[in-house]
Amino acid sequence: MSIQSKNNHAFAVQDCALAAIATGQRAFNLRELRDKIRGIVPDSIYYHFWGGLLRPRFDDPEYHNDFAIWARYGLEDAVLAERLGIIDPTDFREMEALREWVIEVVEERLDEREQVPASRSDHPFYFVRSQIVVFDTHVRIEQPEQLGAAIPSMSLGSIFFHFVDARRRPPHGEDDFRPWLTTCFEGYDDLCETLGRLDPFFSGLAALRKKLTEVFAHYFRK
């Protein structure tokens, strides 16, 4: 394995926070949910799939997106909750494709049910979007080994920014680590391949940070 530096650009570690903004839109039954999803801003779809990673919560949630949670606890429709809960947003490169898929799942359920499932009046689905604030941590990393050493002490906001938010930033549409490793260095293809296989969605940010730490540690031990 030949490893060398092509272009010595330091990796700037950044942190982020999401500011939640109510859209004023809400749905009281499944048909309303479908109709609102059709027209809501893409940022809101993003927030309801990914925003939960940065919200206050404990342990692994039973469902991984807000639509599934509402289907279970708002509509009390366990079947729909499971169908929505299995949707993996990383399968969709475009937010519009994800939106269409969610609508498809909801419509399928509407066809199956004789009555439109409705929530209790005090438990509608509130559509929220977010604004991301990106902070500079002033931490600069020169070498891939240093990145591995820095990951365990990165905040969950940093992990979100570099491994989740990065996927919707052009030009790469992937995490920030792989483009840095391939642009600035040679010989890290194996590491990049392993990083590419990591699931950023289902395990939560703390678990993701742990997995990243293990991947780097294992690679450099080897």
Binding site: A19, A22, P56, Y126, V134, F135, D136, H138
Partner: protein, 422 residues
């Protein structure tokens, strides 16, 4: 100011917060504040003492000043009818179907007109004006707006307002640049962005700072509480939405199984709440004849006594039936106490069922959970540990300040979906 934390002398508020929440968190605040340097910010509410809003502003204002924002805090006052009107608003906006008499509305509008004249010079020069709650909401319509940005910060549970009253208030709110609510469930159909920002507590305030054991012990003597018997505590204004009667009902049910049980209902007066005294009398009448019920009327500055009471409690209750947020829940959690909270409003955001406490829907539910916890001291400790960590991550003042600064940066610099700093 010089604060000693451990063996370090810290000379600024920011340094002191950095010692608690971490230097990186304070650095984020500085990055945001740099974009707002020398901007003039004015907060307006209706009381300097009593209630969560005044408590937050007491610390938020000096902190914003220290970060280079020219920040001031003004209050709106009025006559008896004004306070009666705003209390009726408070009740109606949280769901009571109570109309507000024209006479009271006139007093409300008159007080705002007068306040606009008095505060005009300050408000006219402000870059950003934070208006807290309904009391000063009409100020914008009576002021020269100029280039300034106006933010309406609503601290109450607006999830199911009595529509005629909200319709009246909405006509004043629509012209604001931004609204801020504590939960997405409280947001309304408004033509401007509505940020969701839960409130927070100040870990350095007298109400939340670590106390010496002796100071906690002293509270037992002061209020004739037996230190060797289990104690449940609810700290709240005497307000029907806080369900103080429900707390006593829960106490009576639980006492059948825990005969030594004692309960404290500690209420502080807020100067803008005219109903407090009558609710307290109702509670006292209801509790008459029951042993071990301590109903305490504490002055609004009895922060250390409240701190000590929360620390002395085995379990803390906040059995509200409506709650904008419930800062007393955060305070108790910060002191490592599990909280049995009403399943409503902002309490749901803090009491994570089975993790930091229990959500309940009735006095019976509260009694059941009191009994459950008092039989399991190890569960009390486990939930308490989780609660402290949860508050540190989510509900300290620095997080709220970061979000306020974010709103201000977005407003002043016209950012949409991304704000990149550094």
């Amino acid at each position: 100011m010089l604060i000693i934390l451990g063996n370090r002398a810290l000379s600024t508020l920011l340094e002191t917060y950095a010692a608690i929440v971490g230097e990186d968190v304070v650095d984020q605040l500085r990055q945001l504040a740099r974009l707002l340097e020398n901007r003039r910010v004015v907060h307006v509410n209706s009381t300097r003492e009593g209630g969560g809003v005044a408590e937050i502003l007491t610390k938020l204002v000096p902190l914003m000043q220290e970060m280079g924002l020219e920040t001031s805090w003004e209050i709106i006052t009025g006559d008896k009818d004004f306070y009666e009107c705003t209390k009726s608003f408070h009740n109606a906006l949280q769901g009571n179907r109570t109309a507000v008499a024209d006479r009271l509305l006139q007093a409300y509008e008159h007080a705002n007109k007068r306040a606009a004249e008095a505060l005009g010079p300050v408000l006219d020069q402000a870059d950003i004006v934070f208006i807290h709650d309904p009391q000063p909401a009409p100020l914008l319509s009576y002021c020269h707006r100029g280039e300034s940005k106006w933010i309406w910060r609503c601290h109450i549970d607006l999830s199911r307002p009595y529509r005629p009253v909200w319709k009246y208030l909405r006509k004043y709110v629509v012209d604001y640049d931004v609204s801020i609510f504590s939960l997405s469930a409280f947001a309304q159909a408004l033509p401007h962005p509505q940020y969701i920002i839960p409130p927070s507590i100040d870990p350095l305030s007298d109400k939340n700072i670590e106390l010496e054991k002796e100071e906690v012990q002293a509270i037992y003597n002061l209020f004739s509480i037996d230190p060797d018997r289990p104690l449940i505590v609810q700290v709240s204004r005497f307000d029907r939405f806080k369900d103080p009667i429900g707390v006593i009902q829960a106490f009576r049910l639980a006492k059948k199984y825990v005969p030594d049980l004692q309960v404290v209902l500690a209420g502080g007066g807020a100067s803008d709440d005219p109903e407090g005294a009558s609710v307290r009398r109702e509670v006292e009448a209801f509790a008459e004849g029951f042993e071990d019920v301590h109903i305490l009327e504490l002055p609004s500055d009895a922060h250390r006594a409240i701190n000590a009471l929360q620390r002395a409690a085995h379990v803390v209750l906040q059995k509200s039936v409506k709650e904008g947020f419930g800062l007393t829940v955060t305070e108790a959690m910060w002191k490592g106490k599990p909280v049995i909270g009403g399943n409503t409003g902002g309490i749901r955001l803090q009491v994570i069922d089975n993790h930091t406490g229990f959500l309940v829907n009735s006095p019976e539910g509260a009694a059941l959970r009191v009994r459950y916890l008092l039989e399991r001291p190890e569960k009390i400790r486990e939930m308490g540990r989780k609660a402290v960590g949860f508050v540190r991550e989510n509900f300290l003042l620095t997080r709220q300040l970061r979000e306020y600064l974010t709103v201000m940066v977005a407003l002043i610099h016209g950012c949409e979906d991304r704000i990149e700093l550094g």
